[in-house]
């Protein structure tokens, strides 16, 4: 898995802040809650004091599962289902690939992956205009014949 953290010349001991294990327990409880009550939990990794290397440690423990999606909106975002189904890592970057936010989402599907109603309305209007003008159909047929 690609991470964009900066490496520091500091010897990293075990559990510098002791926040790694409690955080993983919180993820476990959130997964319980998702299974029993269908309730989503989002944990903002920026809100927790973590030593250099500890975020990578959490990400490595959670690992990578079956899905890795990339989103291009205001820079890149990476949405990964971890090896634990229902536990996702959502990382947002700006267009210079600098990390803007990283969340652990405990959900069956992160909201940001779903098509949004407003975008679908906009898309329908665009498609409708294109069909009226006949541009897309004409251009596609020209491409095919070429």
């Amino acid at each position: 898995m690609t991470t964009h953290s900066v490496q520091f010349n500091i010897q990293i001991g075990d559990d510098l802040t002791w926040n790694v294990a409690p955080l993983l327990h919180e993820v476990k409880h959130a997964l319980d809650n998702l299974i029993k009550n269908n309730e989503t939990t989002i944990i903002d990794l920026r809100s927790i004091p973590l030593a250099p290397g500890e975020e990578d440690k959490i990400l490595n423990i959670l690992g990578q599962g079956e899905i890795k999606a990339q989103l291009y909106a205001l820079g890149q975002s990476e949405i990964i289902e971890t090896q634990y189904a229902g536990v996702w890592i959502v990382s947002h970057y700006n267009d210079e690939n600098e990390i803007m936010g990283r969340f652990i989402e405990i959900t069956s599907m992160p909201d940001i992956l779903c098509s949004q109603t407003e975008d679908m309305i906009e898309a329908r209007n665009h498609l409708s205009e294109s069909l009226k003008e006949g541009q897309n159909i004409h251009e596609s047929s020209v491409e095919k014949s070429a």
Binding site: V6, I10, I42, D44, R46, P49, A51, V90, H92, G101
Partner: protein, 366 residues
């Protein structure tokens, strides 16, 4: 397709749509904004709803005795970031570093914005105000004090950006040759939000603007006027090196074993225990790191009188100087208030000269 209004009726949602930003991008924007404002992720839908309908507020930005570092902090980002999206969503009607107009045209723009948005505009101030002599710092021949008094009258709220505007900062440092004071020492009848730091973290500046845009109110403040959401916890309490402090493991010099192992920098003068800011969690340069993570003690730049806190490399033995000194005056008018403050400043200046101390190279090598 819906028509998008232009000008001051524009909402943030309109601005984003004009820039071709999809709803999905907007959700990403709201998620990172919630993170920036230290709000729980469950607030993301509320932020999305409010921001989409938020109107562009008029902002007048006055720069007094300052180094432009605060403006640099905010505008340095070259890419599409939360900072510049928020910055684009305000109507910045006066900022003499950024605006194209100069001289009379610039001042006319300020007067026009004040008239058009009287009682509604946000006033942002960076830099301290010299009361020793009006000639120490002027803009278009107007003293900083007069310009502040004139512009503050019609402001809905004032944001004092940077330690200079919030508490006097470096110009206020002993022996305070210009008689520099903060905005809060002059203006007493407007809500003032202090956003200290030298400079403040850019997302903290925009976080306060975002809060105003989202909720239409000023955020909850601490006892010295700072938004609790960013300044509610000490650097020490949120520092990843805190466990070393608790275990009594300290770096004694910048190149000893403790320094290499990333132990606590308390003995090297770290002001983390008495400094309240978001550096340890929000970090700098888009979340890359913060001074302690780079191996340097916190200087305490968001605290009042940080420059006179007893030496950057001297270990804390007690909190820095109490800053709850305020100027009390009646409604006798701004001029009288100015005279009163000026008199107090003279007294302060004399005592500051007497107690002025210098950091030498020997101090750094200790």
């Amino acid at each position: 397709m819906t028509d998008i209004p232009e000008g001051k009726d524009e909402t943030l949602g309109d601005v984003l749509r004009q820039r071709g930003i999809s709803r999905r991008s907007f959700l990403k924007f709201c998620a990172t904004t919630a993170s920036m404002m230290a709000l729980p992720p469950s607030m993301i839908p509320t932020i999305a709803h409010a921001l989409e309908r938020a109107k562009k507020p008029s902002v007048i930005w006055l720069s007094f005795q300052e180094c432009t570092g605060c403006t640099e902090s905010l505008t340095r980002a070259h890419s599409v970031t939360i900072e510049n999206l928020i910055f684009d969503s305000i109507s910045l009607d006066y900022h003499h570093t950024l605006q194209a107009a100069s001289g009379h045209a610039a001042e006319e723009a300020r007067m026009a914005a004040m008239e058009e948005n009287y009682g509604k505009y946000l006033l942002v101030v960076d830099g301290s105000i010299p009361l020793g002599n009006p000639g120490y710092s002027t803009i278009a021949g107007i003293s900083n004090y007069d310009m502040l008094m004139e512009t503050a009258k019609g402001a809905a709220a004032i944001i004092s950006v940077g330690t200079c505007a919030a508490y006097g900062g470096i110009p206020h440092a002993k022996p305070n040759p210009t008689g520099a004071v903060s905005v809060g020492e002059i203006i007493k009848d407007k809500p003032i939000i202090n956003v200290p730091g030298c400079p403040p973290i850019p997302v903290v500046i925009t976080g306060v603007l975002t809060h105003f845009l989202t909720f239409g109110t000023i955020p909850e403040l601490d006892h010295i006027g700072r938004p609790k959401v960013f300044y509610g916890q000490s650097i020490h309490d949120r520092c990843y090196r805190r466990t070393f402090y608790d275990k009594g493991q300290f770096a004694e010099t910048f190149d000893d074993e403790g320094a290499r192992k990333g132990w606590c920098l308390y003995k090297l003068g770290c002001k983390g225990p008495t400094t309240y800011n978001a550096c340890a969690t929000t970090k700098w340069n888009n979340g890359t790191s913060f001074p302690i993570e780079s191996g340097h003690p916190c200087l305490g730049c968001s605290e009042p009188e940080f420059w006179d806190g007893g030496g950057f490399y001297k270990a804390l033995s007690m909190p820095t100087e109490d800053i709850s000194k305020t100027v009390i005056y009646t409604a006798a008018g701004a001029v009288a208030a100015g005279v009163a403050i000026g008199a107090i400043q003279k007294g302060r200046k004399n005592s500051a000269v007497a107690s002025h101390s210098k950091t030498t190279i020997d101090d750094l090598e200790k």
